[in-house]
Subunit: 195 residues, 2 copies
């Protein structure tokens, strides 16, 4: 198992993200975002997976789902799922997430943001998946990959990231993947290039 | 857009698949399997996506979901989703799926099966993702990639495939991805190697 990927963390932000009309909102927790991304986290040996939501009720829903599978009925029904959901943490903000990792790893984590849209302001912050994988392999600091729910991360959040990853595109005009698909594909690409 | 991928079709089989106890069952249609895989199909410019279920009620559920987004309320609410769900067909069996493609393309489709488990009987039917991508790029015949729901495709179904694709693994003992993640990653890998 490549040791480099254990320094990679996924953060799924439910705020600040855009809605369909370009307004900044807090999106609701989706059950399969928790499961599918936890299973990717465990399969690829990542450091962990943070579900970030400032709404207390939404955090409770996320925690209740995790607990069902890690210590409730689900934990005896499906052990593989228990192992995956043990990788999940629930936080209120990106700042809290960074602070947890800073304390855990003793060094400032670096942020890599993802988007389904080309950012005309990206400049040299945009790196290829190969460069990102090599960067992860060479680095000792933890890296947080930021994913947005809804219609994507706010531009202010994008600005906080040191690096930006290119949109997943197959040279088609259409790229409307679910965040579950995007996390799966991006993690697989980073893994391929960090070996 | 790479023309090769337009000859690739995804078939998501709900029967014959294993359940948790190794029994052959028919699994239920999952809403997000329809959406997420349709969005992958459209993003990567695949030929189409077949939801295969022998149960009439289950096929009706799948069709109702598709119609909500292609001609019902959803079609005006979210045009991107309409475009994705237009890629979905619902069939009863793998044989029916093959027959539809044989008629459409005028040539016998080739089957590539996927599995989360190593098949000790695979022999030279197992090819790498690079080989599979190159094969797709060089071929004129349609290729159907078979995915199983539940605990995976029956061994009889695996035997029908000319080629087998390796399990997605990161060198970890744990590889319990959702079928949505597996379709996303495998399609991305085939696309990378078919360019």
């Amino acid at each position: 198992m490549p040791e480099a990927m254990s320094r990679v963390y996924i953060a799924l932000l439910h705020h600040p993200v855009y809605n369909k009309n370009g307004e900044i909102v807090t999106s609701a927790v989706t059950n399969l975002d928790i499961h599918d991304i936890a299973r990717v986290t465990k399969t690829y040996g990542l450091g962990g997976y943070f579900i970030v939501n400032p709404d207390k009720e939404q955090r409770k829903i996320a925690l209740d789902i995790c607990r069902h599978w890690t210590s409730g009925f689900g934990s005896t029904y499906n052990k593989a799922r228990k192992n995956a959901l043990s990788e999940v943490s629930v936080t209120s903000t990106l700042e809290e997430t960074i602070e947890i990792l800073r304390k855990k790893e003793g060094v400032e984590p670096e942020l890599m943001a993802t988007s389904a849209l080309e950012d005309p302001q990206a400049g040299d912050r945009m790196i290829s998946y190969r460069e990102a994988g090599e960067l992860i392999a060479g680095k000792k600091a933890p890296v947080i990959i930021l994913f947005g729910t809804g219609w994507g991360l706010s531009s202010d959040t994008m600005k906080k990231a040191k690096h930006l990853l290119p949109p997943i595109s197959a040279g088609n005009k259409y790229n409307h993947l679910s965040v579950r698909s995007a996390v799966s594909i991006i993690t697989d690409r980073l893994f391929q290039f960090s070996k």
